[in-house]
Amino acid sequence: MTRTARFAPLLAAFCWAAAAPLAAQSAAADAFLSGFQISGDYVVEIDGQEQPKAELYYSDRARSFLVRGSALPSPLLISPAAREVQSLDLMKVAVRQDGSIDVLADAVLAPEGAFRVEGDSILFRASGKGFRLKPRPWLLGARTGEQMLDSNPEYRRRAEAYAPDAALVAKLAARPGQVRVLTFFGSWCPHCKKHVPMLIKVGQALADRGWTFDFYGVPSPIAGEPEADKHGVHGVPTAIVFVDGREVGRLPAALWPQPEAGLDQVLAGARAAGAR
């Protein structure tokens, strides 16, 4: 192997990391192929090897996936509606400040062929390599918030995007006693994907303030899962609030879009009940 060949992947990775943000500054985004957000729905395999560093994005507007990563010769656009895979120049992919991706308006899409659905996987060939998108395995059992964020890039993106109400967080932090929030979730559940990362973010803000946040992944269907049965959990997400080891309430489903407000309500209810 020549010296150049040995360093080629490194060079490609550098270009991949550096070129996209540069491209973003120079050209307008495509009106349709834009707003790609990181997705945790699938893991990417190339020629049978899992690619943990490959990133999968999805755009609601384009109704398409985009795969990119240093192991790929070029980013790939997968359109379920057109049932085809196309490749595009790395320089025509722009990364926004918030981490989402746009394809630039002057990007040229090269057809790579059709994909096929095999069981729950999506298979296709591009640049002479065999690709497989496999559904991400369910996250089961006891987890910490950080483990949750590490397990799925979409959880991290959603957690980072959420800004809890600072005043409410300060109020929660000032509360005396040990508070534990045990959250049952399903990594397969769309509402969990949307709201549990927000609670993780609240948990980060309350770390070292007498608060503990634990998470517990359950399968689908939930019925028969011993830990869920033990706590009388019939649906997810369900966050159970314990104060000094005693359950004082559950986060109201309606307040999941602002979990710190839900926690405040549960604790206020517990205080009122205690006063009575």
Partner: protein, 329 residues
């Protein structure tokens, strides 16, 4: 003479008064039970599909298909209801009514016990009054207990002796039984969706909810996008083999960017969503709504409605005219 007559009849009249009072109370008790049974018949007969689902979910599909059982039960309830209203409190009528009431109480009691034991979700309300009334298992048991049992108990007292017009009253009760079964058989084809479901013009989306206590969630929480502005909302069954054709019409509407925007609500699993995404690639917004919230909103799917600023303004059986016409054209 008159005085003597009065004084001689007074003890008999005094003795007859409580008997008559008891007879009136007994009749009213029977009539109350009959009325409750008829209301329950109406609530179930306008949406026989939901009743059939309930029979299956309770594990009562024995010997006969659930649909046949549903029609028989409705006929029985209607016949008993009318018989009690007509004061036909014969022993066989009351024995059947007692058996029916005890069976209903057993079902609702079992559902409550299951919920208390954590065997079933506490949200799975009993559909004894169809989908019109949202009740937890506890509420279902207690309301059945208080609505049915006192009337039944009273109906057994002071039963009339030789009944006048027995044949005519029996005939009317039988006709009611047959009529109820016939109505239930025809109901799916009648335009009764607004009456039979919790979705009708004027309903606020904030009132479309499911669950109890902390688990209670409303449609506006699950699909906040439809809470404001004008939207067409379609309730769909993605498991129906005919959904591909429905999706084509919805796609055509969404793809041409027509206004108002379209939202499709369905109950589906993550696997089903993935399959839909790769096979149908819908251009419309598909939202997951749990069956517990969706089921009381329709008799058959698809069903659709227009919502303006969080309030339902129109409903349609099938797709909205704008979507259906676009598909046809």
């Amino acid at each position: 003479m008159a005085v003597a007559s009065i004084s001689s009849s007074t003890p008999a009249a005094a003795a007859a008064r409580p008997r008559r009072g008891l007879a009136v109370a007994a009749y009213l008790g029977g009539a109350l039970l009959g009325g409750v049974l008829l209301v329950a018949v109406w609530a179930k007969a306008i949406d026989p599909g939901a009743f059939v689902e309930q029979i299956r979910s309770e594990g009562l599909e024995i010997l006969l298909p659930a649909r046949a059982i549903a029609l028989l039960v409705l006929a029985l309830e209607a016949g008993l209801g009318v018989a009690l209203l007509l004061n036909l409190r014969r022993r066989p009528v009351l024995l059947v009514a007692t058996a029916l009431v005890l069976f209903f109480l057993f079902l609702t009691g079992r559902a409550w016990w299951r919920a208390e034991q954590g065997i079933a979700a506490p949200t799975s309300a009993c559909g004894c009054f169809g989908n019109l009334v949202e009740r937890t298992p506890r509420q279902a048991f207690l309301s059945d207990l208080f609505l049915l049992l006192p009337g039944l108990g009273l109906a057994w007292l002071a039963r009339p002796g030789a009944a006048a017009q027995l044949g005519a009253r029996t005939l009317v009760s039988g006709a009611a039984a047959g009529g109820a079964a016939l109505f239930a058989a025809l109901a799916p084809g009648l335009p009764l969706d607004d009456l039979a479901t919790r979705l009708s013009p004027g309903v606020e989306l904030t009132s479309i909810c499911a669950g109890v206590d902390a688990d209670r969630v409303c449609l506006t929480h699950l699909v906040p996008a439809v809470a404001a502005g004008s939207h067409l909302v379609v309730l769909a069954d993605v498991r129906d083999p005919g959904f591909a054709a429905t999706a084509e019409a919805l796609d055509a509407y969404a793809a041409r960017g027509a206004e108002p925007p379209l939202a499709v609500l369905a109950d589906f699993t993550a696997d089903e969503h993935r399959t839909l995404l790769w096979t149908l690639a819908p251009a419309f917004d598909l939202h997951e709504v749990p069956a517990a919230m969706l089921r009381p909103l329709y008799r058959t799917l698809p069903r659709s409605f227009r919502v303006e600023e969080g309030r339902v303004t129109e409903t349609w059986a099938g797709l909205p005219p704008e979507v259906a016409q676009g598909a046809g054209g």
